[in-house]
Subunit: 224 residues, 2 copies
Amino acid sequence: NHIIVCGAGRVGQHVVSRLVKEDVPFVVIDKNPEIIAKLTAEGILAIEGDAAEDEVLEKVGIKKARGLITALPGDADNVFVALTSKELNPHIKVVARANHVESQNKLIRAGADKVISPSVIGGRRMAISMLKPVSVDFVETLIHQGFEIEIEEIVLGNNSPLAGKCLKESGIKQKTGAMVVAIKRGEDIINNPSADDVIMGGDLLIVLGTRSQLAELEAMASPR
Amino acid sequence: NHIIVCGAGRVGQHVVSRLVKEDVPFVVIDKNPEIIAKLTAEGILAIEGDAAEDEVLEKVGIKKARGLITALPGDADNVFVALTSKELNPHIKVVARANHVESQNKLIRAGADKVISPSVIGGRRMAISMLKPVSVDFVETLIHQGFEIEIEEIVLGNNSPLAGKCLKESGIKQKTGAMVVAIKRGEDIINNPSADDVIMGGDLLIVLGTRSQLAELEAMASPR
Ligand SMILES: [Ca+2]
Ligand SMILES: [Ca+2]
């Protein structure tokens, strides 16, 4: 139930530091022995090898992994790794880096579940930083740092005492201070729900709040 | 009062498409005549030249520009452009691309107001997409697309009828449905404010809502 990171170069190194922060189990594959030595010295599980080879992916336990992030500098390599990993484990979730926008479709067709293009995100972010500087800082805080306020996803169990209540009755905002900013129900997303919107078992709540507010909410949502 | 974009390559092209969407006046500088021809054909103001040269920056009106976004592939070039543009117009806001994390400090010392590293943002985003897929989609919607829900910054005037009221009294949530997710007051940020928090003249409110909710709020906030 671990995550495999292919490539810890210019982009992959930031995948790694984020996974360290989130404290989830993962292993890194990189061709560069210096990168492997550096990661190993930091206490990170890392092996030298070519992620495009079946044996290497098998060695890092692809069949039992829950996800693979391929952040190699070459798009052809990322396509190849996406294909290979889905072949070896059809249930694995694959997030792939696209260096050129043109590669996005190829990566999706190769089986990637999500494609991230650093150039696209970076370019947009530069424009928005110019136009809406505060929002960018705020949203960066939300998704990247979680200084004070964090964004969390909470799945409401069918036995949750909150299931079947409207937001006002649920007391989420009043008792914990946390804010439900969206409700995902199957394929539907209810953005910015009102106090009268009902939350149901199986809903995924997207919630903003401090760490302690979110912990309080998780406790409230759990069946007694 | 326009924006100058230096470099419309792999990253800069996405700066451009975002500025087109936001409908703000801007001009592009790029060395590559093919890129200039393509932009011009799309009706975008673009001139061929080296953004590192004073004459080129003067030609695109740097002295009257409100901002400059330097998205060149070389960090040394971005440092140079940041320095030059602040020299020619000390009031200009500069957003710079850093290709290597190590360049971030140099760009800040060169006068950049904000430095964006596509590799850093891309890497983090890949990790978060693996761990919190719904939040990433949600936040991407917020800052990048604004499908239904948008994030907006509203400055509360001193004469605003909302100034001096607590959030509950203000009726923002009740009357418009929009959500105040943070209040920026001078250097302080009040995250996730409660119903009893008072909003004051001069505050910058960061608000989530649909376009119509936000329009309603802007009307409510304006002095009569
Ligand atoms: Ca990499
Ligand atoms: Ca560029």
